[in-house]
Subunit: 485 residues, 2 copies
Amino acid sequence: MEDTRQTGNLALTRVEQVMQALRERIASRALAVGARVPSIRTMSEQLGVSKSTVVEAYERLVAEGTLIARRGSGFFVAGHALPGANGTYGAFAARGLPGPRFDREIDPLWLTRQSLETDARALRPGCGWLPASWLPQDAVRRALRAIARDPHAQLTDYASPLGLPALRQQLAWRLAQHGVEAAPEQIVLTDGGSQALDLLCRFLLEPGDTVVVDDPCYFNFQALLRVHRVKVVSVPYTPAGPDLAAFERVLAEHRPRLYVTNSAIHNPTGATLAPTVAHRLLKLAEEHNLLIVEDDIFADFETDPAPRLAAFDGLARVVAIGSFSKTMTAAARCGYIAARADWIEPLVDLKLSVSFGNGELAADLVQRLLVDGTYRRYLDGLRAKLADAMGDTLRRLASAGVTAWTRPQAGMLLWAQLPDGLDAARVAREALAHGVVLAPGNVFSVSRNAGSFLRFNVSQCNRPKVYETLQRAMERATEAKAEPA
Amino acid sequence: MEDTRQTGNLALTRVEQVMQALRERIASRALAVGARVPSIRTMSEQLGVSKSTVVEAYERLVAEGTLIARRGSGFFVAGHALPGANGTYGAFAARGLPGPRFDREIDPLWLTRQSLETDARALRPGCGWLPASWLPQDAVRRALRAIARDPHAQLTDYASPLGLPALRQQLAWRLAQHGVEAAPEQIVLTDGGSQALDLLCRFLLEPGDTVVVDDPCYFNFQALLRVHRVKVVSVPYTPAGPDLAAFERVLAEHRPRLYVTNSAIHNPTGATLAPTVAHRLLKLAEEHNLLIVEDDIFADFETDPAPRLAAFDGLARVVAIGSFSKTMTAAARCGYIAARADWIEPLVDLKLSVSFGNGELAADLVQRLLVDGTYRRYLDGLRAKLADAMGDTLRRLASAGVTAWTRPQAGMLLWAQLPDGLDAARVAREALAHGVVLAPGNVFSVSRNAGSFLRFNVSQCNRPKVYETLQRAMERATEAKAEPA
């Protein structure tokens, strides 16, 4: 069997071409979860390769968890929940093996796992959050002490169905600062931003619906949408927002039900939505009866507030979600949904059904930090620190020959391209072996056209080792390209 | 239009008979979510009632959110996520109206909402948790202070994919006390027990699968399973566990994929699974390739440990879930899943996709309370207090003519029957108007055959007003039965 580690994406072997062809059919949903894949003979004829090549490709797709083999009946597309009829949990067991970890580098969950799991001494320029030392730990400590001291603190009971009224009032006020008019009764607290999006997907989508995301987009949108068994289509993102001509074509062709985006500071590009794009986007959404979830998780990083779709739209077809995991604490899970009034009751029923309510302690903690002036002062300091780190990272990457796609106005995210079409997945794999977690572009790209991009988190880029390791990994990737496959 | 408030369940009006017939077809999935219901003429002929009776029944089913009316095309079964094609969110909007609250008394979410929402002065003998004053508030306070003081406490970061190792070790040790062998690597932390069950349903079930529950069962199992679009069938529960003959018939007839139960202390009956029943149940499960989720949320209430299905089975086809919401705090959401080793990796992928991990602060809090001897001492005191409250409640209910179905060995739950076939929903509605939240039996019953039962929580039953209000509500219900419908 050939060694996949010696293969760059510009020189795919025949086996890899077959694997790639299959993966693309699955990504485009030409092959749905659970579907039988073409027989070995059919595939061999279709692609003009030998049967043994197809056999090896299918076996490797089974090993990485993309396909399931069922004895006597062929190969099938694995899903998140496809336990076999006889208790053989093939797709899942395969993922549990120590081997295939390095085959998962374009799986959105790979980055999550690497960022969360890798040993504490590793550097994480690819991860999506601030270092603990940049977060307001002392303010969190003070708030915990205040809760412990407060005789009226609610320490043991379930939250009310919508969640802590004082926090919903704070959130209504904060949303109003961005022009989003939402009464506290239109705000539902959740255990984090991902849960907020998950609830909305359950509420708004049916399996088989189509959802639009940006290309590139926050990688976990893809993982989450996959759980909902929807078809995902993508629209190229420009430094001013989604490409509107492409957006219109997608609307006409795919009739999607929902668009999921970050508009204030876009993940992974750090770009900001322009007001004219926002306006035209909403017009298109109206014409095509498209719903929008606007994930405003980076709101507090902004220096000059960008337009919000939810503000232009008045929460008619746009739902705003957010959380404090990025700027305050991710250890206390607290997010929110702000939506039109007539959606609240059924959304809350759904929330109670699947979680019995959000955590009141986390909500209380966030609420105390929001009313505490120290959070505002902390944010001022944080923004200045991030601006410095952004400038520094841009300079250091430029020296390494890595080009920023756009210069973000604020925040921690920077989207940058490797020179000479180098394979970012290859570079990331190399860097990981030396204790540096990078974020390869295709993790964020539904169309997989960001193979030479990396997402950097400037708050995690202040150590020389990041650039030394990146440089060395780029050299190795360049050498590998020169080698015969 | 007739007044529903004057109707007992033994004297259904024609309109209510039609409503009931429709609800039963929906509950049995003869009519699936989204399906068109029979036309008014067909239904009128089938049931031998006038068309105007059917019209009124359908209108009332729309008002309560069971059906959606689509102009020009008839009536359809509402789902949890069936927004109309033109942005008309009929089923949801209908639920948001102030009117139909009193029509929801056999909707499992009704009880959740009433318990969580009703004004703080209300008494809640029907709710499923301890009063705050019975919970270890001082221990929670101390643990919060300890976290705030601990320089190594993890106050701001995301949790690792499985969740806090120290808590998973504690849980492995605690499970071993009940004979359940689970390594810490087989334990996944969640934001509460409901999230644990929700993740497992996503992992194990496909829409259209069949799931068995006990009759009666914890009401939120029904609400949660409905979200997963599965068919729910039920098996009568006896004081020793599920009725095995009925269980076998259900297995043969419906070929269910999963059985969800509480076995240590059963909700709502307070009954305990007998070892022989547990053993025969597992044999049936093996023969029919049935998976089992055993929700062990009441573990710490037990005085004499009951058998665990997960212990007998060795986590082959049984998954154990639990949480500390009932005995410690529900304000910090923390639950767990203990499952076979080869399920863990895909379960964690699923958890990361939909929540990006559990709350570390809640896990840390629970962990500190578990290792703190005060929790063990608190539990000893709690069990004694509950035993007293159980005796007291049994005596007072007996004086009121309300009969216990079985005498629970431990815990807070008591399942009891009203005299003379009185309608518990009617009694609960009456009591609610006087500030007392009762739990009518049919909220817990898939077959709706528990119309004269109530679930009591003995920890919430120590005020004379509970019994006075119950007595008065029973009198009103008796009078209403005597009135012509």
